[in-house]
């Protein structure tokens, strides 16, 4: 029972960065831009969050910095794919190579080579902000979370409402489905795509920053550990809807939480086998849901206005 509760509590924590990243992907794909560079955006967001919260002492500012840098770096992707019509997959890959290199470089320059491990304070949970110490499971589940967790769930609800109930959300989706049709109705296709890149960059940066402001106290290269790609799988698994994406992220978060707990209580089994769980789960999930191709139809295709 203790074990199960612990797994559930840490599932919520582990799912949070995935929710940010998967929503980033969702906003991008809904505007017709498939983005495989989230891993890179999260890496640079993670470093920015770390540095800023170290310098200012405020993890919240760190998250804001992660978002800002995420947007900045994603503008490169935006310009290349929207204006230059570069292939989205290829350019996402370029971001995956560029952004982590930049993060690693800034870290080296700032701390010098071979320096000792620098640590930052993490964001407080709501409970400690309120000055209470919940003891029950429910209390822990709902109060002992950082503000980022609440923000993640708020964003899921907002996204669900936005895409399903608002006029603007409908227009946004049309851009991802059939940009030419959207254009003939006076929707600013390029504008929506840029907005998508801003949202995507911000959310991906925040997802990365979560790792260094709410999860671990240090920054290490490769700390995103494939979450950018798992988020991509979560969007497919969640069938491009906010609610589905949330469930998918919770599932992958659960796998992650489970492997951590299992590592602790392993009996002679090499811990790496447990660490494989989230990755293998992703492969299995994708293999099981099979090839029902859904998702926005305009994804991956460049949009050129004066095309002949």
């Amino acid at each position: 029972m203790e074990f199960a509760m612990n797994v559930i509590l840490s599932s919520v924590r582990m799912a949070t960065p995935l929710i940010f990243l998967a929503l980033a992907e969702l906003y991008s794909q809904r505007a017709g831009l498939v983005h495989i560079g989230l891993e890179g955006l999260a890496a640079i967001g993670s470093l920015s969050g770390f540095l800023v919260s170290l310098i200012t002492g405020s993890p919240l500012l760190g998250v804001a910095a992660g978002a800002a840098v995420g947007i900045l770096v994603n503008m490169i992707y935006a310009y290349a794919t929207i204006n230059l019509c570069a292939e989205q997959i290829v350019y996402g890959m370029a971001i995956n190579i560029f952004a982590p290199a930049l993060a690693a470089f800034i870290y080296r320059v700032y701390f010098g080579a071979g320096s000792e491990l620098v640590q930052v304070g993490l964001m407080n949970s709501l409970a400690s902000m309120l000055g209470v110490t919940p003891t029950s499971f429910i209390g822990k589940l709902f109060l002992e979370q950082t503000p980022m967790v609440y923000l993640a769930y708020a964003l899921v609800i907002f996204t669900a409402i936005y895409f399903n109930k608002t006029k603007s959300g409908l227009n946004y989706k049309a851009v991802g489905e059939y940009p030419k049709a959207a254009a003939t109705l006076g929707i600013n296709v390029v504008g929506v795509k840029y907005v998508a890149c801003v949202i995507c960059g911000a959310l991906a940066g925040m997802g990365g920053a979560y790792l260094t402001t709410c999860y671990t106290t240090t920054y290490t290269d490769g700390n995103v550990a494939g979450r950018g790609f798992i988020a991509l799988a979560a969007v497919i698994f969640g069938r491009w809807s906010a609610g589905g994406v949330l469930l998918a992220c919770l599932f992958f978060g659960f796998c992650d939480a489970l492997q951590i707990r299992l590592q602790v209580s392993s009996y002679g089994v090499p811990y790496q086998f447990f660490q494989m769980i989230p990755y293998i789960a992703t492969v299995v999930v994708l293999a099981v849901i099979g090839m029902k191709k859904a998702g926005p139809k305009g994804v991956g295709k460049p949009y050129l206005r004066e095309e002949r």
């Binding site: 292939e87 190579i97 080296r108 991509l232 790496q272 086998f273 660490q275």
Partner: protein, 353 residues
């Protein structure tokens, strides 16, 4: 027309490299180093002496393999991002045979290389089968399998083949190591990489199967309508590209590293993707780019010693090259750019007349 497009596809990476270096120099200057001294030491570190050239070529060897892996797969329209995992699986199997089978010398080397290639090919085939029969996105699958392979290698060097208290495997026997060329760091593995590159080149451009594979990569529907066994080609491209990476893993183990250890092969998969893209999926160009990247890395150590600029500046330059090249290649395909070029040549013709 053909020549001008060839010229453009050559110029784009060259200009991208220049731009990346200019930005790199600005960064170095900001960090307080003299960019010219830094570049000079970079050059000396990479190519300053025969010994350094040997080191650069040795460093380029695994990159050539993963670059060719990416190149081969993308030619068939398969976005294999799993070069790293396939590289590792090759090296793991190779490590087992080299250290556990009791065979040594040339037979062991041959067996190791073949087994490494097979292991890489089979590891890639998992993703291939999931793509062909379950319609899955091969990018996500191959990346996930990279992590699994890395962790699996961790099991091998921390547990199964651990060398005493140190988390690394035992070394391969001396007689199973690949021989060095001219007493330099570079080994026969480099020759193997070049041969692999030439074979890939020959296959893609001089055989009927290679021609059909490229057709599948460029337009799968049309290839199907024209009677090609599209699924077979896709599976083949997974297996062959995985085998190339797996071969690279074995060659790296037997030629340079001799044991598996934390960080072995780390990042080579994405490096391979970058090189294949900069080399515009041409196998021979990919080799050149790989040597260039290796030179950057080897030279950056000397540069750090001479100027204090961290070696990771070379990673930044490398990353900028890919960012610029891919954007540049997209830009020259834009109709506006073509019109612009057209106007330029018109002018020249008018001036000439």
């Amino acid at each position: 027309m053909k020549n001008s497009s060839k010229l453009v596809s050559f110029l784009v990476p060259v200009i991208s490299i220049l731009l990346a270096f200019i930005i790199g120099c600005v960064i170095m200057a900001i960090l307080g180093a003299n960019p010219f001294v830094a570049l000079q030491s970079l050059w000396i570190g990479a190519f300053g002496s025969l010994r350094n050239v040997g080191t650069t070529l040795a460093r380029s060897t695994p990159l050539i393999f993963t670059g060719l892996c990416a190149c081969f797969a993308y030619r068939c329209g398969v976005f294999n991002l799993g070069g790293e995992g396939q590289f590792l699986m090759g090296s793991i199997v190779c490590c087992y045979i080299a250290t556990q089978s009791g065979i040594e010398g040339l037979p062991a080397i041959l067996l190791c290389l073949v087994a490494g290639a097979v292991a890489g090919g089979l590891w890639a085939l998992i993703a291939g089968l999931l793509k062909v029969y379950r319609g899955q996105n091969e990018m996500i699958i191959t990346i996930m399998l990279n992590y699994v392979a890395t962790l699996f290698m961790g099991v091998v060097y921390t547990n199964w083949l651990r060398d005493g208290s140190v988390p690394q495997t035992v070394s391969v026997p001396d007689s199973t190591k690949l021989s060095r060329l001219f007493g330099l760091r570079v080994t026969t593995a480099f020759v193997l990489a070049l041969v692999a590159g030439l074979l890939v080149y020959y296959f893609l451009f001089y055989t009927s199967k290679g021609f059909q594979l490229r057709a599948v990569g460029l337009n799968m529907t049309a290839a199907q309508f024209n009677g090609f066994a599209v699924k077979r080609y896709i599976l083949m491209s997974f297996i062959v590209s995985g085998a190339i990476a797996g071969l690279g893993g074995s060659a790296e183990l037997l030629g340079t590293q001799f044991r598996l250890i934390n960080g072995f092969g780390s990042g080579y998969g994405f490096d391979g993707v970058a090189m294949a893209l900069i080399g515009q999926l041409h196998p021979l160009a990919t080799i050149v780019v790989a040597i260039f990247f290796a030179a950057l890395r080897v030279g950056s150590t000397t540069m750090q010693a001479a100027t204090g600029v961290p070696t990771s500046v070379s990673d930044i330059i490398q990353a900028l090259v890919i960012v610029f090249t891919v954007a540049g290649l997209a830009m020259v395909k834009l109709p506006q750019f073509k019109a612009f070029l057209g106007r330029l040549t018109d002018k020249k013709q008018k001036e000439a007349a």
